[in-house]
Symmetry: C3
Subunit: 160 residues, 3 copies
């Protein structure tokens, strides 16, 4: 069992998740190989890291608070140490402040990783939903944000 | 510190949790020794892996979306490497689609593991709740499932 | 990569989180060096472990059910093995049973650790919120606690 490779791959995934939730799109791109593929549930499929990152950059503006937590890494490194596969269990929350909607969900990831000269990179990432639920914040009128990392920055298209 | 044993025991726990949420009951049975015991909170106590798995199979049908995430592994392997104990922090969500109820909760697990000829197995698993809460989805009328892994399969006893 | 040090630091953090949610204040103090500092979001800054623990002891009584989960450890140990830095992603839930309020949130931790004669200790812990939200349980009238570890113990100031 190659414990160093396993720890490096966990770190790669955590960097991906941290850059995603902090909206650091250029850093996010660096966790993928150029021809990486991604499939998020039934509706979102991408070919090439640029397509993945462009989608995130275009759709996850400052009026979208995202929290993605991945748990339960089950990582198998190939015998030659060149590739690996990994299963994770996602829990995600998205608060859409403009539209006053909240998404919650869970999913099982099946990833593929490759070792490059610069360390491990994501070759494929994808998940199948256990569930995804949407609700309006209008159902809980007392709900209020007491902290919001993105509040200082206006949402895209907001003139105020 | 036996890092390989610790990683193997984490994997064992993650397999248990994945098989539970994916309703793979035969695979779930394989993580236990035959005489394993389980105690989930104050109300659910089981002796023997068959009793544990039969309960899950009988009570967690396709109208029960379950998400069990275990965090914070504190695993101690015995000096001879034959047994181990582990503490975990659970977060669980259960959406009961037929009854329109949602359970959320947290608990601290105290597990015991044994090394067998086929690898580590669970000898005892049990938790004490920090809290468990139940609510009706009727309180949030906008709540709707936008993905449900089990939707294609009819709930047990559902004729339609 | 010093995998033993990384695992030891994860254990330190998990002990901190377990003692916090189990309200074991004396054990909580033992994870810090005496002159440790803490900064929880914009509003809570502490100097010295006594100040940190006194705040917790004074503000997190039995009418405050707390659940703190930390994910995604990215831990770097210094070349001489004497210090380390770590990033974590927090998810927290606080149910205030007397006031019928629920807090949920997420944050990124930036910690500093030091190796002492008694093992690793926290020198600084602090986080910046991604978001924090507050809601009243009165918005979900069906919400009820079906388990509460602290229910047997009266909340502070409660005569009944």
């Amino acid at each position: 069992m190659d414990l160093v490779a396993i720890e490096e791959i966990k770190r790669l995934k955590y960097r991906y998740l941290r850059c995603l939730d902090l909206k650091r799109w250029d850093e996010l791109a660096a966790v993928f190989v150029a021809d990486a593929t991604a499939q998020y549930g039934d509706r979102l499929t991408f070919t090439g890291r640029d397509e993945v990152v462009d989608f995130m950059r275009g759709n996850l503006g400052t009026d979208m608070i995202t929290v993605h937590h991945c748990h339960h890494p089950e990582i198998d490194v190939s015998a030659d140490g060149a590739t690996a596969v990994g299963t994770w269990h996602l829990e995600d929350t998205v608060i859409m402040t403009t539209h006053r909607l909240m998404l919650t969900g869970a999913a099982f990831y099946e990833d593929r990783y490759v070792r490059t000269g610069d360390g491990w990179r994501i070759a494929h990432t994808g998940y199948e939903r256990t569930f995804e639920a949407m609700r309006s914040l209008d159902d809980t009128p007392s709900f209020r944000l007491t902290a919001n990392r993105w509040a200082a920055e206006p949402p895209p298209g907001d003139g105020g």
